[in-house]
């Protein structure tokens, strides 16, 4: 569950990235977030991750007002959210397995549990045979899928993705979107920021459209 209540974000530069934005995303819903470059998509996701703080309004995630989360609580909050980045953000000094296991190690999963979850996640993205490889040796699409496996390995209730298909070919993009859809069916709240209108318009899901930091379509409860 994600709720924005008249949220504004002004960066130190004076730029208003979000203006009086309100939205509500149900648990287990898959929602696309779109808009021109600079519309505020990444900013919105960063507020949910507490990578930035809103200037005004309230952001509520899983029933918790993010303004009340501070210090060590931020790390805990991030453990409950899976994130996928356009540029993968994998660590190239360790294997695919270790990359996917990282959030699990941090969150304190049991040893046996970690092995099971990592393999399950890699299996879901079709990379079980690559667990011992270095991510550098994988193609862009494969690296993106490792990033997705890392985001979902701890089975978070919320999954965020910022341009997850940014530089993938259409077939691969469709494949990855199908993966996200499968996760939402399994009970995960999924929020995907993307430019790829052609792809998402075929997918029958709610589309939030941002324009200069304000919501122009798709907001509110369904």
């Amino acid at each position: 569950m994600i709720e924005f209540d008249r949220v504004s974000k002004r960066y130190d530069s004076g730029r208003d990235a979000l203006r009086e934005l309100s939205l509500f995303i149900e648990p287990e819903e898959l929602v696309f977030l779109t808009g021109h470059s600079g519309a505020g998509k990444s900013t919105l996701l960063k507020l949910i991750m507490i990578m930035e703080r809103q200037t005004r309004g309230r952001v509520i995630v899983n029933g918790k007002d993010l303004q009340t989360i501070k210090g060590g609580g931020i790390a805990k909050h991030r453990q409950d959210i899976g994130v996928v980045f356009q540029d993968h953000q994998l660590l190239y000094d360790r294997t695919v397995y270790d990359n996917v296991a990282l959030p699990l190690l941090i969150s304190g999963f049991e040893h046996r549990d970690i092995g099971r979850r990592v393999r399950a996640a890699l299996d879901k993205v079709g990379l079980l045979d690559k667990e011992k490889s270095n991510p550098e040796a994988l193609s862009g699409g494969e690296q993106q899928r490792v990033g997705i496996a890392r985001a979902v390995a701890s089975r978070p209730k919320i999954l965020l993705a910022d341009e997850p298909t940014g530089n993938l070919d259409p077939a691969l993009s469709a494949e990855i979107m199908a993966l996200f859809r499968a996760f939402s069916r399994a009970g995960v709240t999924v929020l995907i920021a993307t430019h790829d209108l052609a792809l998402i318009s075929r997918m029958q899901h709610r589309i939030l459209t941002l324009k200069e930091g304000a919501l122009v379509a798709g907001g509110g409860r369904e």
Binding site: M51, E52, K76, Q89, L102, L105, G108
Partner: protein, 324 residues
């Protein structure tokens, strides 16, 4: 009592994970950090070695100096113990008169023991010292007076001066011999050595902090991306800080060991000449001193410095690395 909603939520999330489970996780995180640190230090073993050597060299300076100071102080203590003043009796006094006088001195507060040196004994000593037979010397007539040697309980300068004055006032006393200057010079040297040592300790502490701080700063900087990603997937500051603390610990321990190695090498290298010197003064207790307790303190200090430098540097750097 009013409990805010936020407070309740926080409390719940803390108690959600049982303590035993959190302890296991904590231990696992420490093991991971140790493993990570060791493998990194091993992979860059040349720079690891160089940093440890630099730290060791810096720390060995105060260590070697403190060895010198301890040795000098021990030597001074030897001089103190053997210290005495010599009261030269007036020519006209007979040996028995001198003995009466010596008994008088024995009751003085500052005097530990007295011994009378007759003119004959003095001549014997002199002849030995000159390498002549006492008969030859005696044939020249014995010009030496009787004297009393006083061993003192304290070498305090003022007390000594007072005593000397008191003794000289006695008309039966011809002279009071006391080598004060030599002693006070030695004490001044010891004090100088001690201050020099503390100055070097301070300089070495500062240098070590700077060395470690800079090394850790570079280490944090080179792992910036990794730290960002780790924080994004839910690591707290303690988690990302841990490997750097272990690195500081490792550098401190290695630097301390290098310093000990240098110090003990210097000790064995200087040991021979010092022993020869001690033998020439016939003071068998005089030897280079670097007790085990000091070695332990040095190692502990190096480790504490390493961790402190790492902590301060990493904390400062990590504040700059927040996911944005």
């Amino acid at each position: 009592m009013v409990v805010s909603k936020a407070g309740r939520t926080a409390a719940r999330s803390v108690t959600k994970v049982p303590f035993a489970r959190r302890f296991v996780t904590w231990r696992l995180h420490h093991r991971l950090a140790r493993h990570d640190t060791l493998s990194r230090l091993g992979r860059h073993w040349v720079s690891t070695l160089l940093t440890a050597l630099v730290m060791g060299v810096v720390l060995s300076l105060p260590a070697a100096l403190s060895m010198g100071v301890l040795t000098l102080e021990a030597a001074l203590a030897q001089v103190d113990r053997g210290d005495s003043i010599t009261v030269v009796a007036h020519d006209s006094l007979t040996l028995s008169q001198v003995e009466v006088l010596s008994e008088e001195y024995a009751s003085l507060a500052l005097v530990r023991s007295v011994s009378v040196v007759s003119k004959e004994q003095a001549l014997d000593e002199l002849s030995q010292w000159l390498g002549l037979s006492p008969e030859v010397l005696a044939s020249l007539g014995n010009p030496l007076p009787h004297s009393i040697s006083l061993t003192l309980t304290s070498m305090q300068t003022e007390a000594l001066q007072a005593l000397t004055e008191q003794l000289t006032h006695n008309p039966l006393v011809a002279d009071v011999l006391l080598d004060m200057e030599w002693l006070s010079r030695l004490q001044a040297i010891a004090l100088f050595g001690e201050r020099l040592m503390w100055a070097f300790v301070a300089i070495a502490l500062l240098a070590c902090l700077l060395i470690i701080g800079n090394t850790i700063r570079l280490a944090v900087e080179s792992r910036r991306q990794e730290i960002l990603v780790t924080k994004l997937v839910g690591a707290n500051n303690a988690y990302v800080m841990r490997p750097f603390l272990y690195t500081g610990f490792a550098y401190g321990a290695a630097g301390g060991l290098v310093a000990l190695l240098i110090t003990y090498s210097v000790k064995s290298w200087l040991g021979g000449p010092i022993e020869a010197l001690a033998n020439s003064y016939q003071t068998p207790y005089f030897a280079l001193r670097f007790p085990l307790s000091l070695a332990f303190a040095l190692l502990t200090a190096a480790i504490v410095l390493g961790m402190l430098g790492a902590w301060a540097s990493a904390r400062r750097q990590l504040k700059l690395i927040e996911p944005r």
